[in-house]
């Protein structure tokens, strides 16, 4: 029995072949050790021959059974691996956000399951472009590219060139690209499945990128429309007033009362300042949109910057009661003082534009454990909930454009600048008793600075 067990184990562990060898060995040893004449391989008795044959039969049967079980387990293991590869492939494909990323993922996955390099090509301007390739491969030969293009265009579509087998990748709506494999069996079900799945993923990525492009175009259109409106209306209005006042002064110099002359001169000054502000806003917007904005990261005392902004805007705020509420001890925050000043100037100008002459405006500077905050709060009519969601949009203006208003860029620029500095700008309205608006700039704090140097 010991011998039978050994045969069984050998067959179960290593398959049919090793089982038979074990049976032969076991038979030989049994014969040698136990069958008379002992210590020879000679079999004298027909009964022993039967024993020996039984040995082999058992070994064969056990080995065959065990081997089959093992082969099945192996196949199951292969299938499990294939499922895992497929799952991994679909997860990686779903994670790809651009068509090129998806193409690269697909090329990697196809290479992995086909045991050979794989490439993915996408159509571009009537030719095929290599979008996914194994490391080290940056271009395909002309004949390979031609074959890929034919595979993409032809009905049946499988083309062979330069050692590559090209086959089209199908999405739900149509053909999206071509996969090329080298020396791998394309009839293997797993490769097929991955390519099918990849085709769909690629199609999805292509559609998503087209949608993003459309959205970008729509936004650019909106911006252009706003810009045109700004230039045609907001720039022309003060210009019209300047030209009108100046020509009135030069044509009727002598017949104008001194008070009227002074008023016309003042109007020229005010409108020239307004034009200058419009230009500043457009330039700020262009800096934000162009991505050329590189904010400085200086440890800044926001109280200082707020004080400077208030000083600069004093003339426009005249009449409104101003309150400063600055914490006596305040951490420094890494910020760009010039950008931060512009942010506060925009917030103050916004408060001035939307409140009556006798309103009060409070600027506060304080901190919480994580951030330094500056707020600009007014007790004007406030912002309606519907408006509140839109006030940071470019060229958005509360109410009809009026002479003396801004371009509708101030808050959008303010938010852009604050975010460029790593901070946040939030709006709250109403603040109290159904009135007022509060804008809060929060800037993340810096690590504490070593004492003793002051």
């Amino acid at each position: 029995m010991v011998f039978l067990l050994a045969v069984l184990l050998a067959a179960a562990a290593f398959g049919l072949g090793p089982g038979l060898i074990a049976a032969a060995l076991a038979g030989a040893v049994y014969d040698f050790a136990f069958i008379e004449p002992r210590f020879t391989l000679h079999i004298a008795h027909p009964r022993d021959l039967i024993t020996f044959a039984a040995f082999f039969a058992v070994a064969l049967a056990a080995g065959w059974l065990a081997g089959r079980a093992k082969d099945r387990a192996g196949r199951l293991q292969d299938q499990a691996a294939a499922m895992a590869a497929l799952l991994e492939a679909s997860r990686a494909l779903a994670g790809a956000s651009t068509p090129d990323e998806a193409a690269q993922v697909l090329a990697d996955q196809a290479a992995e399951v086909s045991d050979g390099p794989a490439v993915v090509l996408l159509p571009q301007d009537g030719a095929m472009r290599l979008a996914g390739a194994p490391p080290g491969l940056s271009a395909l030969g002309d004949d390979a590219l031609g074959a890929a293009a034919e595979a993409f265009a032809a009905q049946a579509g499988v083309m062979i060139a330069g050692g590559w087998t090209f086959r089209p990748l199908e999405g739900v709506r149509g053909r999206v690209g071509v996969a090329g494999l080298r020396g791998a069996d394309l009839t293997d079900g797993l490769v097929d499945t991955i390519l099918r799945q990849g085709g769909v993923a690629l199609e999805r990525a292509l559609l998503a990128s087209a949608a993003a492009e459309n959205e970008a175009l729509r936004q650019a259109d909106r911006l252009r429309a706003g810009l045109l409106n700004a230039v045609s209306h907001d720039f022309r209005t003060p210009l019209a007033s300047i030209l009108g006042s100046a020509t009135t002064l030069s044509d009727y110099e002598d017949s104008l009362a001194p008070a009227v002359r002074r008023d016309l001169l003042r109007s020229i000054q005010e409108d020239a300042r307004r034009l200058n502000q419009h230009i500043g806003a457009l330039l700020d917007m262009a800096r934000l949109e162009g991505g050329a904005l590189k904010p400085a990261r200086e440890l800044t005392d926001v109280r200082e910057v707020a004080g400077s902004a208030l000083r600069r805007l004093q003339p426009q705020l005249a009449g409104r009661s101003l309150r400063r509420d600055f914490a006596r001890d305040l951490s420094l925050a890494p910020a760009d003082p010039v950008l931060l000043e512009q942010v506060l100037l925009n917030l103050l100008a916004n408060a001035a534009a939307h409140t009556p002459q006798d309103a009060s405006i409070e600027v506060a500077a304080y901190e919480d454990p994580r951030s330094v905050l500056v707020s600009v709060e007014d007790d004007g009519p406030g912002v309606t909930p519907a408006e509140l969601g839109r006030i940071f949009e470019k060229f958005h203006r509360a109410g009809p454009p009026e002479h003396g208003g801004g371009l509708g860029l101030g808050l959008s620029i303010a938010r852009g600048f604050v975010e460029a500095m790593g901070g946040r700008l939030a709006a709250v309205s109403p603040v109290a008793a159904g009135r007022g608006a509060r804008f809060v700039v929060s800037l993340p704090k810096a690590a504490p600075m070593p004492r003793g140097l002051l």
């Binding site: 330039l283 200082e304 006596r328 000043e341 002051l454």
Partner: protein, 230 residues
Amino acid sequence: VSFRPRILVVDDEPQIHRFLTPALEAAGFEAAQAHDGAAGLAELARHPPDAVLLDLGLPDMDGQDLLRRARAFYQGPVIVLSARDREAEKIAALDGGADDYVEKPFGVGELLARLRVALRRAGAAPPAGAVRSGDVEVDLSLGLVRRAGERVRLTRKEFELLAVLARAEGKVVTHRRLLTAVWGPAHEHDVQYLRVLVGQIRQKLERDPAAPELIVTEPGVGYRFLGEAD
């Protein structure tokens, strides 16, 4: 009036000369014009003016370059004209020897105020005695500060910083220059030291530290001590 200070305006825009020349003359100055950098340098060498207004955006020559070459032989005040969003340009000009800057576009009143400060300071030796501003008196020779007649105790570093600003009274002093003067060249980028120290001085000397009238901030550029006449 026998003495009319002569002001050289170096700017390539005819429109700027067109209003600056009558404005300067109406304010009691004599105006000289140069329409590009080469003409400006030549005029500076031939008839050194009492002060220069220099536009940094010239067609033939970098304004900073002109400033450096002019400083080799001309010691009078130079005020540069620069756009609002060009902090780096202003700082380079100030560190390169300009006395002050005015942001374009500017009102004539603002320009003349800066010009008068520069001329007044150019005529006299740097203040060595006491500099006053409101009820604050900075005694540079004795190293004391009084506010409304009462002595105010400043730390050594606080006084050093205040003294640098007071000596340059009316003029903007760049962060770099202040940091180098008080902490040494190794700390020329540590603007945060300045912020804290200026904050401390304001707490001790300003009537309302939140709305400073003595040391005002020029964001991104430096600080300015506003004296009696400013």
